[in-house]
């Protein structure tokens, strides 16, 4: 969104050009024809649902029966629901650990594939592959790699006497969340690597020249040139990691359904269970609203904190 706001300002899109009344009316007509279909579809299935999520949180609905007003009862339930609080905690844990797992590694790999060596172009092409796979497909793939006794990792553990590899990675309460975080990282690090690759390539060589003239060594060049120059990449990537993992659902649903116990029951999973399993859609809408607000707040906070909005003329960009 921030990128778009910047675009608004940069191109001054949205400031109607002056013209006579007939021309303006004709323009308005063309806009109406050009934009309205998009807006209708988007309005019906994105804008209205966003508002409706909040409205539904003040109702009770179980699909079969009629919709009834519930006042604040769903909300007060949320504030005293230990399961929801636990879910909130697991969600934050997942988001924080995902950030730790993804951002530094993605930065290192992004800088690596920003290099112009031919082998790195080949590596970069292969690094992207996880992003092409459906979450359902890659989850099932990982499930079998990690399967205790018979999976690929367990096989290595058994044949090379590394017993620690032969674990119940997905089924054990102490390992499940960790395993989920690793699989999510495997899926999304390539995406963030792309961001850092573009950011690294946009740093002018002159900055490294200057650093070299000043006698900077490798480490100093990284801390004083690369890292500050990558700040917008870091903000973009961190925002997307945090927002993405606060709302994460797919892999958890496919592999654990929130279990074992409720060790991986993140907020989105909690919402699904409350809504689509227990058919308490009013209360589930409270959780959904919290989810949405959390995501949007994190995005805004990061944008504000780091001055993302003032990034015009930054060094980032691809192509």
């Amino acid at each position: 969104m921030a990128a778009g706001t910047e675009l608004l300002r940069e191109t001054q899109i949205g400031r109607p050009r002056s013209g006579n009344v007939t021309a303006r009316r004709r323009n308005f007509l063309a806009d109406l024809l050009g934009i309205s279909p998009t807006l209708a579809l988007y309005g019906a299935f994105v804008v209205i649902p966003t508002g409706l999520a909040l409205v539904l949180s003040f109702t009770n609905w179980d699909v079969i029966g009629p919709l009834t007003w519930a006042g604040f009862s769903n909300w007060s339930r949320f504030f005293s629901d230990p399961v929801a609080h636990h879910s909130l905690l697991v969600t934050f844990e997942l988001a924080g650990l995902s950030w730790l797992a993804q951002t530094p590694l993605a930065m290192a790999l992004g800088i690596f594939i920003a290099g112009r060596q031919r082998y790195r172009a080949v590596y970069a092409a292969i690094y992207l592959v996880p992003l092409l796979l459906s979450t359902a497909g890659l989850s099932l793939m990982w499930e079998d790699v990690l399967f205790p006794q018979f999976g690929g990792l367990a096989w290595l553990g058994i044949h090379f006497h590394m017993a620690f590899l032969n674990q119940n990675w997905i089924g054990s309460p102490s390992l499940a969340l960790f395993t989920i975080i690793v699989i999510i990282a495997w899926q999304f690090i390539p995406f963030h690597t792309l961001i850092f690759q573009a950011g690294r390539r946009a740093i002018p060589a002159a900055l490294y020249d200057a650093a070299t003239v000043d006698g900077a060594n490798v480490r100093q060049a990284f801390w004083h040139v690369t890292l500050p120059q990558l700040r917008y990449s870091i903000v973009t990537s961190s925002t997307l990691v945090l927002v993405g993992s606060l709302t994460y659902f797919d892999i958890i649903y496919i592999l654990t359904l929130g279990g074992p116990g409720d060790t991986t029951r993140v907020l989105a999973m909690d919402m699904y269970n409350v809504g689509f399993v227990e058919t308490e859609f009013g209360y589930a809408s409270v959780i959904a609203t919290v989810l949405g607000v959390l995501g949007i707040l994190v995005a805004i906070a990061l944008v504000r904190l780091t001055g993302f909005a003032s990034m015009e003329g930054g060094q980032e960009g691809i192509s």
């Binding site: 050009g34 988007y42 790999l109 592959v129 796979l133 079998d144 790699v145 995406f191 859609f281």
Partner: protein
């Protein structure tokens, strides 16, 4: 003082500086800020480790898919020794109802691509021309959608689709998925269409071309590269989508691939046969992987979405 630069230019010290500068430049291009060979070697090794991590599970899956149910338990898990077979693939074609699922996914993907590209190009053209306040307000509203997590609106989506009777219909699912992809698609399009020089519009207007002619003869042909990018973005979003089909469809007739895959793997009859599941998974990945080999550049931009500009 004025002669100093000349003198400096001839000293060995300055030549070292020049060499350093050249090296710095090549390092800057190479992406490594290290000067030493050792640094390159370490980078190579670490980069290769990640390559193995990326390819390892995929290789394991492909290998497992060429085993029979029995071989899977006895044969080497990582080396293609001990006999390979296509039996899992034939089992997949016979037992999984893959035909319907495949056709549904193809329809969903084609429909989504068509909707998203046509709608977002039309909107982007009018937004870039900034003819009225309506265009400006619409653009702001559409950008807001990028911040809305889809997980937060699945319940209202379920509510709406059941109320207007497009629940458990493939076209209903297509509409919802297309709508969810609109914000980023419009942003990608606007980013591209705004690069068309205003002189071209003006020249066509002078020749008496109307808005529609300008759209079909200028904007559409010029936007072809970004149409490919948006198509890939929309296509992947539809082909791989799991959450929306899970929420908005129910019957086997409307089942799409990712959901079919999940149901198949959790089905007690087939799900325990790992090689067949792996064959199914690999089979659904194959079309995308093949396309990726041909259209790598467009994929990078389509996947990068709005994060890469």
């Amino acid at each position: 003082m004025t002669t100093v630069p000349k003198q400096v230019a001839d000293t060995p010290a300055s030549r070292t500086t020049g060499r350093q500068r050249r090296r710095a430049r090549s390092e800057a291009l190479s992406g490594i800020k290290g000067g030493s060979k050792g640094f390159h070697v370490i980078s190579f090794i670490l980069g290769t480790i990640w390559l193995v991590i990326v390819l390892g599970p995929i290789y394991y899956m492909v290998l497992a898919s060429f085993r029979s149910g029995n071989q899977y338990f006895t044969a080497n898990a990582w080396l293609p020794t001990g006999g390979l077979t296509l039996s899992s693939y034939s089992a997949m074609f016979h037992g999984s109802g893959i035909g319907t699922v495949l056709r549904n996914s193809a329809e969903l993907t084609a429909g989504t691509i068509a909707l998203v590209t046509v709608l977002s190009l039309g909107a982007a053209y009018r937004i870039v021309r900034r003819g009225s306040r309506y265009a400006a307000v619409s653009f702001r509203l559409i950008l807001f959608g990028i911040a809305v997590p889809i997980q937060a609106i699945v319940i209202p989506l379920f509510f709406i689709t059941t109320k207007i009777h497009i629940y458990d219909k493939l076209y209903g699912l297509t509409l919802v998925i297309a709508a969810s992809l609109v914000p980023v698609a419009v942003l990608l399009m606007v980013n591209y269409v705004r690069l068309i020089p205003r002189e071209l519009y003006d020249a066509m207007a002078v020749d008496g071309a109307g808005q529609w002619t300008i759209f079909t003869r200028l904007v559409f042909p010029m936007a072809r590269p970004v149409l490919a990018v948006v198509s890939i973005y929309a296509g992947l979003g539809a082909w791989n989508n799991f959450l929306l089909p899970l929420i908005l469809t129910q019957s086997n007739n409307d089942m799409v691939l990712p959901l079919g895959l999940y149901r198949f793997a959790t089905n007690s009859e087939y799900g325990i046969n790992v090689p067949v599941v792996m064959a199914f998974v690999f089979f659904t990945m194959l079309p995308i992987l093949l396309l990726y080999m041909v259209l790598r550049r467009q994929f990078v931009k389509g996947i990068g979405g709005f994060a890469l500009r």
